[in-house]
């Protein structure tokens, strides 16, 4: 079994993601109670899970970027790039699902005076600009180093974005977690944890699939150069 797992890690991860996503959808719609916010609150389970997954992807991209600068690991550059790409995809999903929730709850798609929203948008745009920087420089150590420095600057924005809702004196964004723990019933918290695990495993699967594709791409290019 362990040999099979070692040889089929990606397939096992994909299966885990499938099981967790299916379980979380079932829990959201058939187990978690509808609270005073109404049915619209069911967006929360995936919206917050996706937002935290985006932060995790940016943090992972930052860690890999640190390895590029610290140990000169060029393979970590590709890993950092793919992690940030995943972070931007999950970041875009956070903004879209949050806007759909806000349209129903607040009557607006966006609130410019809401620190949490604006800071997340700043973080998202910062990382979206990462690709402009990366593809404006020819491939090589210079591009790896520039991308790594930029990715590390972005990581500093992650705790600011998470803490914004707590530091802000005036906010309307709901607070799911405070000093006293989760602001929800046990069944809701369990559903949220499963949803978060589902999003993290989905992101990990997509990360490894994309990374495998990029590595094959690089090796094919090297092979073409060797043959010609």
């Amino acid at each position: 079994m362990s040999t099979w797992l070692r040889n089929n890690r990606l397939a096992a991860l994909a299966a885990l993601a499938f099981v967790l996503v299916t379980a979380s959808i079932a829990l959201v719609f058939f187990y978690a109670p509808v609270d005073e916010d109404g049915l619209n609150q069911k967006i929360f389970y995936f919206h917050v899970g996706i937002a935290l997954t985006a932060y995790a992807c940016f943090a992972w991209g930052g860690w890999k970027a640190l390895l590029v600068l610290w140990k000169g690991d060029q393979d970590a550059d590709l890993e950092s790039y793919v992690a940030i790409h995943q972070g931007v995809i999950f970041g875009a999903l956070t903004l879209v699902t949050g806007s759909i929730w806000a349209r129903y709850r607040w009557g607006h798609w966006w609130e410019w005076h809401e620190d949490q929203l604006v800071l997340f948008l700043v973080l998202f745009l910062f990382y979206a600009a990462y690709f402009m920087l990366r593809f404006s420089v020819p491939a090589g150590p210079r591009r790896s180093n520039l991308s790594a420095v930029y990715a590390l600057f972005g990581v500093a924005l992650v705790p600011v974005s998470i803490l914004a809702i707590r530091l802000s004196e005036r906010f309307i964004h709901p607070v799911a977690f405070d000093k006293g723990g989760p602001n929800m019933a046990g069944s809701q918290f369990f559903t949220f944890c499963v949803s978060l695990a589902a999003m993290l495993s989905l992101a990990a699967t997509l990360y490894h699939v994309e990374l495998a594709g990029k590595r094959i791409d690089v090796r094919l290019r090297e092979l073409r150069e060797a043959l010609q």
């Binding site: 049915l39 995936f46 919206h47 759909i100 994309e210 594709g213 094959i216 791409d217 043959l227 010609q228």
Partner: protein, 57 residues
Amino acid sequence: MSVEEKYVAAAYLVIFAVVLAYVVIIALKLQRLERELSELAELARVKQEERRAVAVG
């Protein structure tokens, strides 16, 4: 379907659509990689035949 249900459905459909689009992009990329691999295999075969012809000649 109530307005509230429509918003919840829209949020989950967006997530599903994005993941599906991602899978389609990866599938297209795999097709391209497969095509490139076939081209390289053909190139390697031609080179091998050339080397064999030089060795025989």
